[in-house]
């Protein structure tokens, strides 16, 4: 039994989720594959979005996967870091914008 919750080797087993729920598993992977195809956005742009979201979701599997995916697409480390800052900015912005709610409450209760 693994002594940690996350094992990098588990990422390779992702496709196995289909074994315990075949139809849903296949539908998920079909959808997933379609999402990342070249469309109005390039596959490269989608890869960078995925990398940023992987960080905001703090998913170690996704971070490994989309860092490698970016390298494969020729994405530079500077581009990757900028993408992560976009995610971080939205995360911190989302925290701070709730400050308005706090201010509203203070004003109502103690204004």
């Amino acid at each position: 039994m693994s002594k940690t919750y996350y094992d990098p080797a588990d990422l390779r087993k992702f496709a196995k989720i289909t074994e315990w729920s075949e139809e849903l598993g296949h539908k998920f992977f079909e959808y997933y594959g379609k999402v990342f195809e070249e469309g109005a956005l390039t596959a490269r742009e989608k890869s960078l979005i995925a990398l940023a979201v992987a960080h905001t979701e703090q998913c170690p599997y996704c971070i490994d996967a989309y860092t490698k995916d970016g390298l494969q697409r020729g994405v530079t480390k500077e581009e990757m870091m900028e993408a992560i800052h976009v995610g971080a900015a939205i995360k911190s912005g989302a925290t701070l914008v709730h400050g308005v709610q706090m201010m509203n409450k203070v004003n109502k209760l103690d204004g």
């Binding site: 390779r12 596959a43 490269r44 390298l71 697409r73 020729g74």
Partner: protein, 354 residues
């Protein structure tokens, strides 16, 4: 150019300079304990074993392992310290064979092929024979390495050579990391000089193609998308033009194998290759239409088998013994490194195959 990236495995007296050691690694571990199927078992699943040589189309000649660069991932283990150089006598034997084969492509590689003292004589003689496509794999920096090479663009042009050059990335950092400090700037200068004599220009018959191979332990992305990105960046930043980009997978042998092991990426990389296995790519792997000739005239199914010292499975082992009937239909010699040519869209010296 700045300092060399590294030293050859041979100069470092590395265990991996011994090809038996490399083959042992490729057969043990995840392939011996059944975690991953051997290449033989994998291609047997689709009845593609044994792989057989078809009609010869490409004769690839390695004229020597000497090189002015020592790239981190070189599968040849080339470098300035390598003294294996093809002699004029072997070149003459090859010229005799070129006249008799129906091969449409002659592909010179190394090391830096231009460093062979008989390189120019060989090109002149071979071009007289009139092969359809005459490739020289130039590392670019050689053109700027020494005055005696400055006229290479004109020499290539005179003999209508198809120039194929390595370029790991359109940025300085990633290129120099793999190929050595200063390589990027010299390569850019060399490409501009090739463009200046007409190479790589739109509608020009002087073909200039670039080879992209990843700078680390990951597989190449989509060849067309990479070509688009390379073209945009090189044109915008340096006004450089070229024709096609070939995306080539790094095979887990020689210095790249050493790098994979040292960086603890070997197992993951082999999983990646096996997961990306594409039986369609097996149909067109280059070993089925190519013959690789080593600096001393011996015959191999491909340049990678040459570096692993895996000779052709034929009675004709040397260029002096070349006979079409002895080589056509031969069983290709395989090991786990072959997964490198069958991953994704496949990989060959001419880029993707599927």
């Amino acid at each position: 150019m700045g300092k060399l990236k590294t030293q050859s495995l041979q100069k470092r007296h590395s265990d991996l300079a011994n090809t038996n050691k490399q083959l042992e690694i490729l057969s043990n571990g995840v392939f011996a304990n059944g975690e991953l199927p051997t290449f033989k078992n994998k291609i047997s699943e689709t009845n593609q074993f044994p792989l057989k040589a078809k009609t010869l189309e490409i004769l690839q000649i390695n004229v020597g392992y000497m090189c002015n660069q020592v790239c981190e991932h070189c599968h040849v283990d080339a470098g300035p310290d390598r003294k294996e150089i093809m002699t004029k006598e072997t070149m003459q034997q090859i010229l005799d064979v070129i006249k008799t084969t129906g091969a449409h492509t002659l592909d010179l590689t190394g090391g830096a092929p231009e460093m062979n003292p008989n390189f120019r004589w060989f090109v002149e003689e071979a071009s007289k024979i009139g092969v359809q496509d005459f490739i020289v794999r130039s590392n670019l920096t050689i053109i700027r390495a020494n005055k005696k090479y400055y006229d290479l663009p004109d020499f290539f042009k005179k003999h209508n050579i198809h120039v194929v050059s390595s370029m790991p990335h359109w940025t300085r950092g990633k290129t120099d990391k793999q190929r050595g400090e200063g390589v990027f700037d010299m390569s850019i200068k060399a490409l501009q000089e090739l463009n200046a004599v007409g190479y790589g220009m739109p509608n020009s018959d002087l073909k200039l193609d670039l080879v992209y191979n990843p700078s680390g332990a990951f597989l190449p992305g989509d060849q067309m998308a990479m070509e688009k990105d390379f073209k945009k960046a090189l044109l915008e930043d340096f006004e450089i033009q070229f024709h096609n980009l070939f995306a080539i997978t790094n095979l887990p042998i020689s210095r790249f194998l050493d790098y994979l092991i040292a960086s603890e990426n070997y197992e993951d990389y082999m999983f990646n290759l096996v997961e990306a296995y594409n039986p369609m790519a097996v149909e067109n792997v280059m070993c089925t239409n190519t013959l690789s000739v080593s600096w001393d005239g011996y015959l191999f199914d491909c340049d990678f088998n040459q570096m692993l010292e895996l000779p052709v499975n034929s009675k004709a082992k040397h260029i002096s013994e070349y006979k079409t009937e002895l080589l056509e239909g031969r069983n290709i010699v395989i090991s786990q490194h072959c997964y490198g040519c069958t991953a994704g869209a496949g990989s060959s010296c001419q880029g993707i195959v599927a």
